[in-house]
Symmetry: C3
Protein backbone atom coordinates (compact mmCIF):
# COMPACT_ATOMS: atom_id res chain seq x y z
CA UNK A 1 0.00 0.00 0.00
CA UNK A 2 1.41 3.34 -1.07
CA UNK A 3 0.67 7.07 -0.92
CA UNK A 4 1.67 9.54 -3.62
CA UNK A 5 1.10 13.31 -3.48
CA UNK A 6 0.89 15.00 -6.87
CA UNK A 7 0.14 18.58 -7.89
CA UNK A 8 -1.90 19.92 -10.81
CA UNK A 9 -1.36 23.57 -11.72
CA UNK A 10 -3.90 25.79 -13.44
CA UNK A 11 -4.17 29.46 -14.26
CA UNK A 12 -7.80 30.46 -13.75
CA UNK A 13 -9.87 33.53 -14.50
CA UNK A 14 -12.33 33.45 -11.60
CA UNK A 15 -16.10 34.20 -11.48
CA UNK A 16 -17.01 30.52 -11.96
CA UNK A 17 -14.20 29.60 -14.36
CA UNK A 18 -14.47 25.82 -14.98
CA UNK A 19 -11.39 23.72 -15.85
CA UNK A 20 -11.42 20.09 -16.96
CA UNK A 21 -8.56 18.42 -15.03
CA UNK A 22 -9.49 14.81 -15.84
CA UNK A 23 -6.46 14.11 -18.03
CA UNK A 24 -4.16 15.57 -15.40
CA UNK A 25 -5.59 13.32 -12.71
CA UNK A 26 -5.45 10.32 -15.05
CA UNK A 27 -1.81 11.01 -15.82
CA UNK A 28 -0.87 11.32 -12.17
CA UNK A 29 -2.59 8.02 -11.36
CA UNK A 30 -1.01 6.30 -14.38
CA UNK A 31 2.52 7.36 -13.36
CA UNK A 32 2.04 6.77 -9.61
CA UNK A 33 2.87 3.08 -9.60
CA UNK A 34 -0.40 2.48 -7.72
CA UNK A 35 -2.81 0.13 -9.52
CA UNK A 36 -5.97 -0.02 -7.39
CA UNK A 37 -7.15 2.62 -4.95
CA UNK A 38 -8.56 6.11 -4.68
CA UNK A 39 -7.42 9.56 -5.73
CA UNK A 40 -8.49 12.43 -3.50
CA UNK A 41 -8.73 15.60 -5.58
CA UNK A 42 -8.53 18.57 -3.22
CA UNK A 43 -8.23 22.29 -3.86
CA UNK A 44 -6.45 24.35 -1.20
CA UNK A 45 -8.09 27.76 -0.82
CA UNK A 46 -11.54 28.93 0.15
CA UNK A 47 -12.81 30.35 -3.15
CA UNK A 48 -12.68 27.28 -5.41
CA UNK A 49 -14.27 23.83 -5.51
CA UNK A 50 -14.05 20.40 -7.13
CA UNK A 51 -16.85 18.34 -8.66
CA UNK A 52 -17.66 16.30 -11.76
CA UNK A 53 -19.70 17.43 -14.76
CA UNK A 54 -20.03 16.71 -18.45
CA UNK A 55 -17.55 19.29 -19.72
CA UNK A 56 -19.32 20.73 -22.77
CA UNK A 57 -20.05 24.33 -23.83
CA UNK A 58 -23.68 24.34 -22.68
CA UNK A 59 -22.98 23.26 -19.12
CA UNK A 60 -20.02 25.65 -18.98
CA UNK A 61 -22.71 28.35 -19.16
CA UNK A 62 -25.38 26.57 -17.10
CA UNK A 63 -23.26 26.01 -14.00
CA UNK A 64 -22.21 29.68 -13.68
CA UNK A 65 -25.87 30.65 -14.13
CA UNK A 66 -26.87 28.22 -11.37
CA UNK A 67 -24.33 29.70 -8.97
CA UNK A 68 -25.33 33.23 -9.96
CA UNK A 69 -28.89 32.33 -8.96
CA UNK A 70 -27.93 30.60 -5.70
CA UNK A 71 -25.36 33.14 -4.48
CA UNK A 72 -25.44 36.21 -6.73
CA UNK A 73 -22.67 38.66 -7.44
CA UNK A 74 -23.70 42.30 -7.19
CA UNK A 75 -25.12 42.06 -3.67
CA UNK A 76 -23.25 42.79 -0.45
CA UNK A 77 -21.99 39.96 1.74
CA UNK A 78 -20.86 40.37 5.33
CA UNK A 79 -17.50 38.98 4.24
CA UNK A 80 -17.00 42.01 2.01
CA UNK A 81 -17.25 44.25 5.08
CA UNK A 82 -14.54 42.17 6.78
CA UNK A 83 -11.90 42.34 4.07
CA UNK A 84 -13.16 44.73 1.42
CA UNK A 85 -12.13 42.31 -1.31
CA UNK A 86 -15.66 41.93 -2.67
CA UNK A 87 -15.58 38.16 -3.08
CA UNK A 88 -18.12 37.09 -0.48
CA UNK A 89 -20.09 35.34 -3.23
CA UNK A 90 -16.97 33.31 -4.11
CA UNK A 91 -16.56 32.04 -0.55
CA UNK A 92 -20.13 30.90 0.00
CA UNK A 93 -20.24 29.19 -3.41
CA UNK A 94 -17.02 27.32 -2.64
CA UNK A 95 -18.25 26.21 0.79
CA UNK A 96 -21.47 24.93 -0.78
CA UNK A 97 -19.78 22.95 -3.56
CA UNK A 98 -16.95 21.52 -1.47
CA UNK A 99 -13.18 21.29 -1.78
CA UNK A 100 -12.76 17.52 -2.13
CA UNK A 101 -13.78 14.73 -4.49
CA UNK A 102 -12.67 11.11 -4.19
CA UNK A 103 -12.51 8.97 -7.33
CA UNK A 104 -11.84 5.21 -7.22
CA UNK A 105 -9.57 3.55 -9.77
CA UNK A 106 -8.92 -0.01 -10.89
CA UNK A 107 -6.06 -1.40 -12.98
CA UNK A 108 -4.81 2.17 -13.26
CA UNK A 109 -8.08 3.47 -14.75
CA UNK A 110 -10.38 6.01 -13.09
CA UNK A 111 -13.89 4.60 -12.70
CA UNK A 112 -15.58 7.68 -14.19
CA UNK A 113 -18.62 7.65 -16.45
CA UNK A 114 -18.08 8.16 -20.17
CA UNK A 115 -19.30 11.77 -20.11
CA UNK A 116 -18.11 12.60 -16.61
CA UNK A 117 -15.16 14.94 -16.18
CA UNK A 118 -13.36 16.08 -13.04
CA UNK A 119 -13.48 19.87 -12.85
CA UNK A 120 -11.90 22.64 -10.84
CA UNK A 121 -14.27 25.61 -10.50
CA UNK A 122 -12.67 28.89 -9.55
CA UNK A 123 -15.25 31.13 -7.88
CA UNK A 124 -12.88 33.97 -6.99
CA UNK A 125 -13.41 37.44 -8.43
CA UNK A 126 -9.97 37.61 -10.06
CA UNK A 127 -7.41 35.50 -11.88
CA UNK A 128 -5.59 32.97 -9.73
CA UNK A 129 -2.77 30.45 -9.99
CA UNK A 130 -4.29 27.26 -8.50
CA UNK A 131 -2.49 24.19 -7.23
CA UNK A 132 -4.81 21.18 -6.94
CA UNK A 133 -3.71 18.16 -4.87
CA UNK A 134 -4.11 14.62 -6.19
CA UNK A 135 -3.49 12.32 -3.22
CA UNK A 136 -3.22 8.80 -4.62
CA UNK A 137 -3.57 5.85 -2.23
CA UNK A 138 -3.78 2.14 -2.86
CA UNK A 139 -1.70 -0.86 -3.79
Amino acid sequence: MKVQTRYIHRKTKGICDIHDITKDVENEVATSGIINGTVTVFVPGSTAGITTVEFEPGLKKDLPELFEKLAPTGVTYHHDATWGDGNGFSHVRAALLGASLVVPFNNGTLLLGTWQQIVLIDFDNRARQRKVIAQIMGD
Copy 2:
Protein backbone atom coordinates in the same frame (compact mmCIF):
# COMPACT_ATOMS: atom_id res chain seq x y z
CA MET B 1 -3.77 -2.87 3.97
CA LYS B 2 -6.13 -3.92 1.19
CA VAL B 3 -8.32 -2.47 -1.56
CA GLN B 4 -11.58 -4.03 -2.72
CA THR B 5 -13.75 -2.73 -5.57
CA ARG B 6 -17.41 -3.65 -5.31
CA TYR B 7 -20.43 -2.73 -7.45
CA ILE B 8 -23.99 -1.93 -6.40
CA HIS B 9 -26.63 -2.09 -9.14
CA ARG B 10 -29.89 -0.15 -9.12
CA LYS B 11 -32.68 0.46 -11.60
CA THR B 12 -33.76 4.06 -11.19
CA LYS B 13 -36.63 6.18 -12.51
CA GLY B 14 -34.93 9.56 -12.80
CA ILE B 15 -36.22 13.09 -11.94
CA CYS B 16 -34.76 12.97 -8.43
CA ASP B 17 -35.39 9.29 -7.71
CA ILE B 18 -33.81 8.52 -4.31
CA HIS B 19 -32.52 5.03 -3.43
CA ASP B 20 -31.34 3.88 -0.02
CA ILE B 21 -28.17 1.85 -0.67
CA THR B 22 -26.99 1.63 2.96
CA LYS B 23 -27.54 -2.12 3.32
CA ASP B 24 -25.73 -2.75 0.04
CA VAL B 25 -22.70 -0.76 1.20
CA GLU B 26 -22.79 -2.48 4.61
CA ASN B 27 -22.88 -5.91 2.95
CA GLU B 28 -19.94 -5.09 0.69
CA VAL B 29 -17.89 -3.87 3.65
CA ALA B 30 -18.88 -6.90 5.77
CA THR B 31 -17.77 -9.37 3.07
CA SER B 32 -14.62 -7.46 2.05
CA GLY B 33 -12.31 -8.90 4.69
CA ILE B 34 -11.34 -5.32 5.61
CA ILE B 35 -12.03 -4.43 9.24
CA ASN B 36 -11.09 -0.77 9.64
CA GLY B 37 -10.96 1.84 6.91
CA THR B 38 -13.10 3.88 4.54
CA VAL B 39 -15.57 3.10 1.80
CA THR B 40 -15.71 5.56 -1.09
CA VAL B 41 -19.20 5.50 -2.58
CA PHE B 42 -18.97 6.91 -6.11
CA VAL B 43 -21.51 7.09 -8.92
CA PRO B 44 -20.14 7.06 -12.48
CA GLY B 45 -22.19 9.32 -14.74
CA SER B 46 -22.96 13.02 -14.76
CA THR B 47 -26.68 13.00 -13.90
CA ALA B 48 -26.67 11.33 -10.48
CA GLY B 49 -25.21 12.01 -7.05
CA ILE B 50 -24.49 10.46 -3.65
CA THR B 51 -25.24 11.88 -0.21
CA THR B 52 -26.72 10.88 3.15
CA VAL B 53 -30.22 11.62 4.40
CA GLU B 54 -32.81 10.19 6.77
CA PHE B 55 -34.62 7.96 4.30
CA GLU B 56 -38.27 8.49 5.20
CA PRO B 57 -41.34 9.39 3.08
CA GLY B 58 -41.37 13.09 3.99
CA LEU B 59 -37.78 13.79 2.98
CA LYS B 60 -38.26 11.70 -0.17
CA LYS B 61 -40.63 14.52 -1.20
CA ASP B 62 -38.68 17.40 0.37
CA LEU B 63 -35.40 16.74 -1.42
CA PRO B 64 -36.96 16.67 -4.92
CA GLU B 65 -38.79 19.90 -4.06
CA LEU B 66 -35.51 21.48 -2.95
CA PHE B 67 -33.80 20.56 -6.23
CA GLU B 68 -36.84 21.71 -8.21
CA LYS B 69 -36.45 25.09 -6.54
CA LEU B 70 -32.66 25.31 -6.99
CA ALA B 71 -32.48 24.05 -10.60
CA PRO B 72 -36.02 23.76 -12.01
CA THR B 73 -37.26 21.48 -14.74
CA GLY B 74 -39.38 23.23 -17.37
CA VAL B 75 -36.85 25.94 -18.19
CA THR B 76 -34.26 25.81 -20.95
CA TYR B 77 -30.62 25.08 -20.18
CA HIS B 78 -27.73 25.71 -22.58
CA HIS B 79 -26.96 21.99 -22.29
CA ASP B 80 -30.29 21.18 -23.92
CA ALA B 81 -29.21 23.16 -26.99
CA THR B 82 -26.00 21.09 -27.16
CA TRP B 83 -27.56 17.61 -27.13
CA GLY B 84 -31.32 18.08 -27.33
CA ASP B 85 -31.83 15.51 -24.58
CA GLY B 86 -33.57 17.97 -22.29
CA ASN B 87 -31.75 17.00 -19.11
CA GLY B 88 -29.75 20.16 -18.42
CA PHE B 89 -31.41 20.38 -15.01
CA SER B 90 -30.16 16.84 -14.20
CA HIS B 91 -26.55 17.75 -14.95
CA VAL B 92 -26.38 20.92 -12.87
CA ARG B 93 -28.11 19.23 -9.94
CA ALA B 94 -25.63 16.34 -10.05
CA ALA B 95 -22.63 18.68 -10.23
CA LEU B 96 -23.95 20.62 -7.22
CA LEU B 97 -24.59 17.55 -5.05
CA GLY B 98 -21.41 15.67 -5.94
CA ALA B 99 -20.57 12.15 -7.12
CA SER B 100 -18.60 10.90 -4.11
CA LEU B 101 -19.14 10.26 -0.41
CA VAL B 102 -16.58 8.69 1.92
CA VAL B 103 -17.80 6.80 4.99
CA PRO B 104 -15.42 5.52 7.69
CA PHE B 105 -15.89 2.10 9.29
CA ASN B 106 -14.59 0.35 12.39
CA ASN B 107 -14.71 -3.34 13.31
CA GLY B 108 -16.63 -3.86 10.08
CA THR B 109 -19.38 -1.36 11.00
CA LEU B 110 -20.10 1.88 9.12
CA LEU B 111 -19.89 4.88 11.47
CA LEU B 112 -23.23 6.33 10.34
CA GLY B 113 -25.76 8.03 12.57
CA THR B 114 -28.84 6.07 13.62
CA TRP B 115 -31.14 7.86 11.16
CA GLN B 116 -28.55 8.49 8.47
CA GLN B 117 -28.79 6.51 5.24
CA ILE B 118 -26.49 6.49 2.21
CA VAL B 119 -28.53 7.41 -0.86
CA LEU B 120 -28.11 7.42 -4.61
CA ILE B 121 -30.12 10.22 -6.21
CA ASP B 122 -30.82 9.86 -9.91
CA PHE B 123 -31.45 13.28 -11.44
CA ASP B 124 -31.74 12.12 -15.06
CA ASN B 125 -34.98 12.64 -16.98
CA ARG B 126 -35.46 8.95 -17.74
CA ALA B 127 -35.06 5.50 -16.23
CA ARG B 128 -31.45 4.33 -15.90
CA GLN B 129 -29.52 1.24 -14.86
CA ARG B 130 -26.94 2.58 -12.40
CA LYS B 131 -23.75 0.95 -11.20
CA VAL B 132 -22.42 2.53 -8.01
CA ILE B 133 -18.82 1.86 -6.94
CA ALA B 134 -17.96 0.96 -3.36
CA GLN B 135 -14.17 1.25 -3.09
CA ILE B 136 -13.21 -0.28 0.25
CA MET B 137 -9.75 0.46 1.67
CA GLY B 138 -8.20 -0.35 5.02
CA ASP B 139 -6.70 -3.16 7.05
Copy 3:
Protein backbone atom coordinates in the same frame (compact mmCIF):
# COMPACT_ATOMS: atom_id res chain seq x y z
CA MET C 1 -0.03 1.59 5.97
CA LYS C 2 -2.19 2.29 8.98
CA VAL C 3 -5.74 3.32 9.92
CA GLN C 4 -6.59 5.40 12.98
CA THR C 5 -10.11 6.36 14.08
CA ARG C 6 -10.31 9.52 16.15
CA TYR C 7 -13.27 11.47 17.56
CA ILE C 8 -13.82 15.21 17.84
CA HIS C 9 -16.56 16.35 20.24
CA ARG C 10 -18.48 19.61 19.97
CA LYS C 11 -21.48 21.13 21.69
CA THR C 12 -23.46 22.97 19.03
CA LYS C 13 -26.41 25.35 19.08
CA GLY C 14 -28.12 24.38 15.80
CA ILE C 15 -29.77 26.56 13.10
CA CYS C 16 -26.58 26.75 11.04
CA ASP C 17 -24.11 26.90 13.93
CA ILE C 18 -20.60 26.81 12.39
CA HIS C 19 -17.61 25.35 14.29
CA ASP C 20 -13.98 25.55 13.21
CA ILE C 21 -12.53 22.07 13.89
CA THR C 22 -9.27 22.54 11.97
CA LYS C 23 -7.00 22.44 15.02
CA ASP C 24 -8.75 19.32 16.29
CA VAL C 25 -8.20 17.53 12.98
CA GLU C 26 -4.57 18.74 12.86
CA ASN C 27 -3.96 17.43 16.37
CA GLU C 28 -5.45 14.03 15.59
CA VAL C 29 -3.29 13.73 12.46
CA ALA C 30 -0.16 14.91 14.32
CA THR C 31 -0.60 12.30 17.08
CA SER C 32 -1.67 9.45 14.78
CA GLY C 33 1.80 8.25 13.84
CA ILE C 34 0.74 8.48 10.18
CA ILE C 35 2.91 10.83 8.10
CA ASN C 36 1.39 10.89 4.59
CA GLY C 37 -2.20 10.12 3.70
CA THR C 38 -5.75 11.39 3.97
CA VAL C 39 -8.09 12.24 6.81
CA THR C 40 -11.78 11.62 6.19
CA VAL C 41 -13.81 14.05 8.28
CA PHE C 42 -17.32 12.61 8.66
CA VAL C 43 -20.27 13.69 10.77
CA PRO C 44 -22.69 10.95 11.86
CA GLY C 45 -26.26 12.23 11.86
CA SER C 46 -28.57 13.64 9.21
CA THR C 47 -28.84 17.28 10.31
CA ALA C 48 -25.20 18.41 10.11
CA GLY C 49 -22.53 18.72 7.42
CA ILE C 50 -18.80 19.22 6.88
CA THR C 51 -17.09 21.64 4.48
CA THR C 52 -14.27 24.18 4.36
CA VAL C 53 -14.61 27.94 4.58
CA GLU C 54 -12.59 30.96 5.67
CA PHE C 55 -13.74 31.09 9.29
CA GLU C 56 -14.24 34.80 9.89
CA PRO C 57 -17.21 36.77 11.34
CA GLY C 58 -18.59 37.91 7.98
CA LEU C 59 -18.86 34.44 6.46
CA LYS C 60 -20.26 33.12 9.75
CA LYS C 61 -23.27 35.32 8.88
CA ASP C 62 -23.18 34.83 5.09
CA LEU C 63 -23.38 31.02 5.12
CA PRO C 64 -26.49 30.90 7.37
CA GLU C 65 -28.09 33.51 5.12
CA LEU C 66 -27.29 31.39 2.06
CA PHE C 67 -28.90 28.32 3.60
CA GLU C 68 -31.88 30.38 4.77
CA LYS C 69 -32.38 31.40 1.16
CA LEU C 70 -31.89 27.90 -0.32
CA ALA C 71 -33.97 25.97 2.24
CA PRO C 72 -35.80 28.43 4.51
CA THR C 73 -36.97 27.92 8.05
CA GLY C 74 -40.56 29.00 8.67
CA VAL C 75 -42.10 26.95 5.87
CA THR C 76 -43.54 23.44 6.21
CA TYR C 77 -41.59 20.42 5.01
CA HIS C 78 -43.07 16.98 4.44
CA HIS C 79 -40.56 15.70 6.99
CA ASP C 80 -42.23 17.79 9.68
CA ALA C 81 -45.49 15.91 9.06
CA THR C 82 -43.63 12.60 9.54
CA TRP C 83 -42.05 13.32 12.90
CA GLY C 84 -43.42 16.62 14.10
CA ASP C 85 -39.95 17.74 15.12
CA GLY C 86 -39.98 20.75 12.80
CA ASN C 87 -36.47 20.31 11.44
CA GLY C 88 -37.20 19.44 7.80
CA PHE C 89 -35.08 22.42 6.75
CA SER C 90 -32.14 20.97 8.73
CA HIS C 91 -32.30 17.64 6.92
CA VAL C 92 -32.42 19.00 3.38
CA ARG C 93 -29.60 21.46 4.09
CA ALA C 94 -27.43 18.65 5.48
CA ALA C 95 -28.12 16.38 2.50
CA LEU C 96 -27.21 19.21 0.13
CA LEU C 97 -23.93 20.11 1.86
CA GLY C 98 -22.75 16.55 2.52
CA ALA C 99 -21.48 14.63 5.53
CA SER C 100 -17.90 13.91 4.41
CA LEU C 101 -14.78 15.85 3.48
CA VAL C 102 -11.40 14.28 2.67
CA VAL C 103 -8.24 16.29 3.28
CA PRO C 104 -4.79 15.10 2.16
CA PHE C 105 -1.73 15.53 4.37
CA ASN C 106 2.02 15.36 3.86
CA ASN C 107 4.80 15.14 6.45
CA GLY C 108 2.08 15.36 9.07
CA THR C 109 0.68 18.66 7.74
CA LEU C 110 -2.81 19.13 6.28
CA LEU C 111 -2.61 20.53 2.73
CA LEU C 112 -5.17 23.28 3.39
CA GLY C 113 -5.03 26.80 2.00
CA THR C 114 -3.88 29.58 4.32
CA TRP C 115 -7.40 30.92 4.89
CA GLN C 116 -9.22 27.61 4.60
CA GLN C 117 -10.69 26.05 7.73
CA ILE C 118 -12.48 22.72 8.21
CA VAL C 119 -15.92 23.39 9.65
CA LEU C 120 -18.76 21.43 11.17
CA ILE C 121 -22.12 23.07 10.43
CA ASP C 122 -24.99 22.03 12.66
CA PHE C 123 -28.28 22.60 10.85
CA ASP C 124 -30.54 21.09 13.51
CA ASN C 125 -33.17 23.23 15.24
CA ARG C 126 -31.79 22.61 18.73
CA ALA C 127 -28.56 22.21 20.68
CA ARG C 128 -26.72 18.95 20.03
CA GLN C 129 -23.68 17.10 21.29
CA ARG C 130 -21.83 16.13 18.07
CA LYS C 131 -19.15 13.50 17.61
CA VAL C 132 -17.20 14.01 14.38
CA ILE C 133 -15.08 11.14 13.02
CA ALA C 134 -11.53 11.73 11.78
CA GLN C 135 -10.52 8.55 9.94
CA ILE C 136 -6.79 8.84 9.27
CA MET C 137 -5.22 6.53 6.68
CA GLY C 138 -1.74 6.44 5.20
CA ASP C 139 1.83 5.44 5.97
